[in-house]
Subunit: 354 residues, 2 copies
DNA sequence: CGACTCCATGTGAACGCTAACAATTGGGGG
DNA sequence: CCCCCAATTGTTAGCGTTCACATGGAGTCG
């Protein structure tokens, strides 16, 4: 029987050319120790000559490992998620894994279930979920997992492995910075209420104010977009006692600064504005924005590292339903925290009476 | 023989429960017409009951289709590539495809080859390459493809299917806009010389100047970053005859505006600045940036549509080495062009003597 | 009423790989 | 000199699916 010449070569073809059995070819490919160097050479030459590439589909069928990790994200257009994704991609490939990506249309339970199903059908070895919304994080725990799952910017309290930037600390850093400059209090334009990062930044802000005995103004809420920053900035411009604003991300901060500028309120002389994320642009805003830098690449690396750890464990109780058997106490789901860093630029300064 | 109860169910399990053969289960799953409705019901019930999910690995092995598309990108942190990727992801999933992503570390031939190899091993059905660098585009044509390839923002002249935003037109739109405002000529801060988009925007600019009989100043070059815009902005600030600058992307434009501002040169009164990309921030820059909007989502959709077209063709001569047999003339590689749109904001205005 | 078709279903063989075991060789120790 | 063991290689049997073909029963038609 003659193989279709247009079909790419398979192991048997290599074996024939090298004059060995297909199993020996497999051994060479898998770096088995017991292969004579001379035989190995011959096989490698045949592989080279034929341009053979192992069919990872067939391999996955028998090994039950696809060497593929799934990633579930939300809006990959936002700077944070995009950067994290980038870090994950790098780390995964360095570890020899393929990456399969699903981005959620809506942050709904149904969409999440569909995404998990999509990845399960594809037999991924593990999943990274970048879904910083609390409802979704909870929903995730209710779906039975066949494979290890690591969440990024997820809820640390739902029992899943998680890698987080310490958003609470970030909010505290900003607030302390502004209080130390002499502001009586700090206003806050937060992100959407159901975003975990927004909640944590807000609580860092609130607790710092409380600890300092400063009044806690009612927070404003935006949707991360520059436009929502602009609208809220217009509101802030109308409040004469505002001297310092902590904005939950740089894009909204840009909008706030713009609105203040249009209202002829000078930044930072009359109102200090601090952002969050340290997007590449923020250094060149007018004025350059004081903000909080997060090491997204590090977050991506840590997430993959956690996933690989879980994959390396032989017994697969990645998720413990409860106390279960007393023999092996369920190890707590690992948490990794990456510390953010305050970057002081020119948009924050001591208060001046307005 | 008893199956490991922890193993997920397979077709045979469904078959046993439903009292049919595995082949009938397969028929139900693949919507074959000749299955009695009653049988279908029984099979579906068994699937539901067992929580069965088809193993797409095994399926791929026999069908030789993985329902997976590969995407090769470069820096997914940049707004354009990130947005395009987003559009591609959506379109691919709507069409029922999985997406496997590889991002190049360096824009080198070796890295590209590795990425292609990575995807080939994974048996992807087709590949989208978002690699807007000319050297890489050429290298791509020299690598034999087993599967259809569509390039995004690639070189239209190398014989691969390509989806492009008409960057040349974008450059022309900006230049015409500025000339029409009364500027004697327009300076240009271009992107890196080896980027195709940078080349096309530059040529649109140059040709428009030539057509208008305006002098063509020597272009400056940046690396897309706000910082490089800033540095080049400092140079431009020192040139008294500059009244209008076309900057090849919004991030650099931000840097230019910043540098001009620091040099106490007012935008747009003394110098008009126009960017490219229409990132969400640009509307809120100081002043709001005149720029060119590109429909990245549309680009992503078109790229997937092209790939699906190629996949649908039965005969697979996706790439014709030459004229070959006279019988079926090689169809020209399809080109799809998406038109950009000028967005006029406040950073461009008629010239005023400086 | 026999031959023929159509429908519904089952059976066996791939797909390309790895795991498990079998077979063959050569060398060292008793 | 023979036996045993290690090293090297081959053989066979899956992995879970789809494809090609076989089977059997119910109509249909001349």
């Amino acid at each position: 029987m003659v193989r279709n010449p247009h079909r790419s070569p398979v192991m048997a073809d290599v074996a024939r050319v090298a004059g060995v059995s297909h199993q020996t070819v497999s051994r060479v490919l898998n770096d088995h120790p017991n292969v004579r160097p001379e035989t190995r050479e011959r096989v490698l030459a045949a592989i080279e000559g034929l341009g053979y590439r192992r069919n990872s589909t067939a391999r996955a069928l028998v090994t039950r490992r696809t060497d593929t990790l799934g990633v579930i994200t939300f809006d990959t257009t936002l700077y944070g998620p995009a950067s994290t994704l980038h870090g994950i991609e790098r780390a995964a490939r360095d570890a020899g894994y393929f990456l399969s990506i699903v981005s959620l249309r809506d942050l709904t339970r149904a969409d999440l279930a569909e995404a998990l199903d999509h990845l399960a059908r594809q037999q991924v070895d593990g999943i990274v979920v970048i879904v910083p919304q609390s409802a979704v994080a909870v929903a995730l725990t209710e779906m039975p997992q066949q494979v290890p799952v690591v969440t990024v910017e997820g809820d640390a309290d739902v029992g899943l492995a998680v890698v987080n930037v310490d958003q609470h600390m970030g909010g505290a850093l900003v607030t302390e910075h502004l209080l130390r400059l002499g502001h009586r209090t700090v206003w806050h334009l937060a992100g959407p209420e159901d975003w975990l990062e927004a909640q944590a930044r807000l609580s860092g802000w609130r607790e710092t104010l409380l600890a300092a005995g400063a009044p806690v103004p009612p927070p404003l809420y935006g949707d991360w977009s520059p436009r929502s920053g602009y609208r809220n900035g217009q509101r802030l411009a109308g409040m004469p006692d505002v001297t310092a604003v902590f904005v939950a991300n740089d894009q909204m901060a840009l909008g706030v600064v713009r609105a203040l500028h249009e209202a002829r309120i000078r930044v930072p002389e009359e109102v200090s504005v601090v952002g969050f994320d340290d997007i590449p642009e923020s250094e060149f805003f007018a004025p350059p924005l004081t903000t909080v830098a997060q090491d997204f690449a590090e977050v991506g690396r840590k997430a993959i590292a956690l996933l690989l750890d879980a994959l390396a464990e032989e017994e697969p109780p990645w998720r413990h339903a409860g106390p279960a058997d007393g023999a092996t106490p369920a190890p707590a789901a690992p948490r990794v925290v990456v510390r953010p860093q305050l970057v002081v630029r020119r948009s924050s300064a001591p208060p001046t009476p307005r």
